[in-house]
């Protein structure tokens, strides 16, 4: 048994941590959040150069990692620094789907993603689908050599920056069936595709996407007709490892900020950390943080195992519960200062809590865990 990172991953972690602590300061990040695009192309390029994106892909795919622990190493660091750039969307989801399903021509995009020159977005969720991955009502119909797509996609993160959207649409089956879902690479400027863009609560941008008579060639299909669901499930599993690790990294920062504050903030003539009412609760946060760390380790370590989905449901449920505790307690123990937008913890707490709303909250993953455990 060995719980240490490999030498390569340790190096990646060190490099990333150093880079982010120097370059991704609170001021810098808050300026990025306030900017029109909600992301920094400069930071994106530099991180791509450091190999952050390459680490998320296997050697076959043109990267140098791609395993569960590569994902967790990268996203823990992104979480610690509260990074708002869409690595999840462009690399794990978008790049992941193309790498898994793309034909030779389409695989070229993976190289662009790894190099940092191409952004992608997954346009899958719909206004009524909530966290249900199979609920797709957008349709795709053949018209000669073309495919015509009709539908609406909700909260498509990184849509505005993306060169291509990976759009899920039904070519068969009812609204909930697992079969019949196809995936298409749709250029962002395709005619009939419109976006209503907006910033998000915890940074970054998303858009409501309307596909009105959007026409693409049949060669834009990723993988086989109607067979997209399995690949979607696989990239979402990877995304869940990333999200769990990211929230865990953010929890590390929240507890560290709280530790520093409890030791320096004085009220009634003494550091507030000397009040046992706070000291014990701070200890609880550390205890829960170790639980979270292990849950991420379980999920990352089982990414390629038969027990994958149950382990991931467990991790996301545990992270949702402990994350909320850490975020709320960290704010409470800081007092008013943590309520201010410019204070680091405010952003970190938002990152943690808002993780709930991507691919399922505590209840969703609890239900999945129960279902998978019974099976």
């Amino acid at each position: 048994m060995d719980f240490n990172l490999t030498e390569e991953r340790q190096m990646l972690q060190d490099t990333l941590r150093r880079f982010l602590s120097e370059r991704y300061t609170t001021t810098e990040r808050n300026a990025i959040i306030d900017s029109d695009t909600g992301l920094s192309t400069e930071i994106w390029g530099e991180l791509a150069e450091l190999g952050v994106i390459g680490a998320l892909f296997t050697e076959d795919q043109g990267g140098f990692g791609g395993a569960g622990f590569d994902i967790s190493t990268v996203f823990e660091e992104l979480g610690r620094a509260g990074v708002v750039e869409p690595f999840l969307d462009t690399a794990i989801l978008g790049g992941g789907l193309i790498a898994a399903l793309g034909n030779d021509a389409q695989q070229g995009f993976v190289e662009d993603v790894i190099g940092g020159s191409l952004h992608l977005a997954l346009a899958h969720g719909e206004p009524a689908s909530r966290y249900d991955l199979s609920r797709v009502e957008t349709t795709a119909k053949a018209d000669g050599d073309d495919i015509v797509i009709e539908g609406r996609k909700a909260v498509v993160i990184n849509a505005e920056a993306a060169g291509y959207l990976i759009v899920s649409a039904r070519e068969g089956g009812g609204p909930f069936s697992l079969d019949g879902i196809s995936l298409f690479l749709v250029p962002a400027e395709a005619s009939g595709l419109t976006m209503q863009g907006y910033p998000m609560m915890s940074g970054g941008r998303a858009a409501e996407v309307t596909l009105d008579n959007v026409r693409v060639s049949a060669s834009a299909r990723l993988g086989a007709e109607g067979a997209g669901f399995q690949a979607l499930t696989d990239v979402v599993a990877r995304a869940n490892v990333a999200l769990a690790a990211e929230a865990m990294g953010a929890m590390e920062s929240a507890t560290e900020l709280t530790r520093e504050y409890l030791m320096t903030r004085k009220q009634f003539g003494r550091p507030i950390g000397t009040f046992q009412a706070l000291a014990h609760r701070f200890s609880d946060l550390l205890i829960e943080l170790e639980q979270a760390r292990s849950a991420v380790t379980n999920a990352a370590g089982h990414l390629d195992s038969d027990d994958r989905d149950r382990q991931i449901a467990a991790a996301r449920n545990l992270i949702a519960r402990t994350g909320r505790l850490v975020a709320e307690e960290a704010i409470q123990m800081h007092g008013g200062i943590a309520m201010t937008q410019e204070y680091e913890l405010a952003h970190i707490a938002k990152r943690i809590v808002m993780t709930d709303h991507r691919f399922g909250d505590a209840d969703y993953h609890l239900e999945r865990f129960i279902g998978l455990s019974a099976a």
Partner: protein
């Protein structure tokens, strides 16, 4: 024991309901229901509607033109207002400053300031907290030095809620730096237009410019703006804290919030069924409702004791802690209920001049969840309240 309201109380409730149906502007309650802000004008309008009826001063004694309602009436009114999505009454002048002036102010101060609170001439804000003096308020440093018939004030206040709207601020200032902490503090009324005052906004984590820093640089305040005696300010500020606070549990807000979550959960679906039928979500909802039912009765028990002349003591602290936990839990449920549509940052939607993203009920829920973390921090944090309860019950 009888758990129901008396005939008179029921009649009073109906009177309040009718009033709200007739006089609460629909666009205003719609905004509150959607979690939007109504701005300074909105608050002033609602105050003036209440004032016209004589109900703005519902907590004030008759001798100052108040309605002098008892605790049950106040509770009924606050409950009905919350249920009707009426705006919150801005408390700084009406229920924080006014009781102090009525008890400790001079006749001249009462005659001058009280009518201006009611008719909306003055908007007050509360200048207690400082960067270094939060829970430990008595360690405040803002200094007021006597110079002829003025005090010269230097220092900084912070967290000043809606200070950007205010033209007056009531402040705790240090007038005797050598006395024991609590004994060198005075209560001063300061015109925000006096030279030397600088108000800077603090943006809260949900993006709202709700609080401010207020800086004082050689601000000259006439001595007649001192309330009561010099160096007795702490006593006056404490008086406010022991002053009956029927609304502290926020039962009405919780009930309205819970109803809103239920409405949303009927419209949202999970796995093709209404969310409200999802066993996990339903269990969370039920647990909060069970807690709220009990707390609502605790609240009424304490209110009826107060009406019978017994002043609530630690009960206020208990209600504050439980009340805020319940409200925050409801905010958390509201956030969960809307699923991915909690993610859009709806600052524009909150201001009400843009198309909503997703269902219109989704816009403000995440912001409210984060904003209401304040409930357990301000007004004496929940840790401070627990300290008070323990101290009273175990001596020491």
């Amino acid at each position: 024991m009888d758990l129901s309201y008396t005939q008179e109380e029921l009649a009073f409730r109906d009177e309040v309901r009718t009033f709200l149906e007739e006089k609460l502007p629909k666009d205003m309650s719609d905004k509150i229901r959607r979690g939007e802000h109504i701005g300074k004008e909105g608050h002033e309008l609602w105050h003036s509607i209440l004032n016209e009826k004589g109900w703005l001063s519902y907590g004030w004694p008759k001798e100052f033109g108040g309605a002098e309602w008892n605790a049950v009436q106040r509770h009924i009114f606050e409950d009905e207002c919350a249920a009707a999505y009426a705006p919150r009454i801005v408390p700084f002048g009406l229920s924080m400053l006014a009781p102090v002036l009525q008890k400790f102010g001079s006749k001249a101060q009462q005659d001058h300031y009280l009518p201006r609170i009611l008719d909306g001439t003055n908007w007050w804000c509360q200048g207690y907290s400082e960067p270094g003096a939060g829970s430990d308020l008595a360690s405040l440093k803002t200094r007021a030095v006597r110079d002829g018939d003025h005090y010269v004030v230097n220092g900084q206040k912070t967290w000043t809620t809606l200070g950007q709207y205010a033209d007056w601020i009531f402040c705790l200032v240090r007038t005797d730096p050598d006395a024991k902490q609590q004994e060198g503090i005075s209560f001063l009324l300061i015109d925000m237009n006096t030279p030397g005052i600088d108000v800077r906004p603090i943006i809260l984590l949900d993006g709202t410019p709700e609080v401010n820093e207020v800086f004082f640089d050689n601000v000259r305040v006439p001595v007649e703006n001192l309330v009561g005696e010099e160096n007795k300010g702490w006593t006056y500020a404490k008086y406010l804290l022991t002053h009956e606070r029927t609304g502290i549990a926020g039962v009405g807000f919780s009930r309205a919030g819970l109803d809103a979550v239920k409405r949303v959960a009927r419209q949202e679906s999970a796995n093709g069924r209404p969310l409200i039928e999802n066993p996990h979500f339903a269990a969370r909802l039920a647990q909060v409702e069970i807690d709220l039912m009990a707390m609502s009765t605790t609240n009424l028990r304490i209110i009826s004791q107060a009406t019978a002349g017994q002043a609530p003591g630690v009960e206020s602290s208990m209600l504050k802690v439980k009340g805020t936990i319940i409200r925050q839990e409801i905010n958390d449920l509201a956030r969960r209920a809307v699923g991915p549509y909690a993610m859009p940052f709806a600052s524009e939607a909150v201001e009400g001049d843009n198309d909503p993203i997703g269902p219109d009920y989704a816009g403000p829920v995440a912001a409210q969840y984060f904003n209401n973390r304040k409930l357990s921090i301000f007004g004496g944090s929940n840790e401070i309240q627990r300290g008070i309860i323990a101290k009273v019950k175990m001596g020491g």
